[in-house]
Amino acid sequence: MKIAVIGPESGIIPFRAIGADTYPAGEKPDEIVREVLGKDYGIVFITEDTINRLEERKIIMETEINVVPIPGVGGETGFGRERIRALIKRAVGIDLGGEK
């Protein structure tokens, strides 16, 4: 299976060189994300700033494909860690991911 990277054009170019498929998020990230998730990728990396621009974040939560947020060019916004925390909180009922 192949790997896809979605993000701003300038930030994802090098991923093409190391062998991943890249999709520039462009003006309508929702459409791009939906399109990529419809394909047969093993892992889809999305930059955090693209995730923040999504109108419907649901689409990356409710998929069988492994979607992983990565920090964008502007640095990380903590969404990746926040996502895991929220998940665990819902499943366990306790906040397990807190900073210790």
């Binding site: 090098p14 060189a17 093993g42 060019v73 895991i84 665990i88 499943a91 366990v92 009922g93």
Partner: protein, 205 residues
């Protein structure tokens, strides 16, 4: 909620059997829940640390790349990456943890990392790419672990629901049924005894 049960010895036995089963199931599920929690806790600790590492390294690699790009003509950059010959693919196999199938990725890299000419790009670029390649391997590992967390936490939620259903609904329900039957049966028994005593009295006179 009280269920309608007929007050017979047969039913009492049945309910007792059901209660035993429910308690055993509850204990098993509770154990499963505890174990899941333990596994999850370890995983979370690992992932949180790993994520921080990967994020730092990725940002560093990206910065390197941006620097490398700054010293290269934009059109050569386009050229250099246009003709990438490398493919990075993964094969996914499954590992079972607590009967939850979590993915294990085997990464495969083919082709050349630097498939462009050396003339128009700087050595910085090669280094940046090598850097990124190393981070990418880690990113895949991170993806694997994060997926595991997601799947396990879903299983956890399911198990928790079942444990709660057994603990707070099914088991109290059966216990009440047993109590009701027991009381009705003993009431009937008492009624019977007093009737016999009364009959004995009548016969004796």
């Amino acid at each position: 909620m009280r269920r309608q049960v007929s007050a017979t010895r047969m039913e009492l036995l049945n309910q007792k059997k059901k209660l035993g089963l429910a308690r055993r199931g509850h204990k098993l599920l509770k154990d499963k829940q505890d174990e899941l929690l333990r596994v999850l806790q370890d995983l979370i600790k690992e992932v949180m640390q790993m994520r921080r590492e990967v994020e730092d390294e990725l940002i560093k690699a990206m910065k390197r790349f941006v620097l490398a790009r700054a010293v290269t003509e934009p059109m050569y950059i386009e050229d250099a990456f246009m003709i990438s010959t490398s493919t990075f693919s993964i094969t996914e196999s499954r590992r079972s943890v607590m009967n939850v199938k979590i993915p294990v990725y085997e990464s495969e890299f083919e082709g050349l990392l630097t498939s462009y000419g050396f003339l128009n790009t700087s050595g910085e670029m090669d280094l940046a790419l090598e850097n990124l390649h190393a981070v990418f391997e880690k990113m895949i590992k991170l993806a694997e672990k994060e997926r595991a967390i997601i799947l396990l936490s879903e299983e956890m939620a399911r198990t928790r629901r079942r444990v709660n259903a057994l603990e707070f609904i099914l088991i109290p329900d059966i216990e009440e049924a047993i109590k009701t039957i027991y009381m009705k049966l003993s009431e009937m028994e008492r009624g019977n005894i007093s009737r016999l005593m009364r009959i004995k009295d009548v016969i004796r006179k």
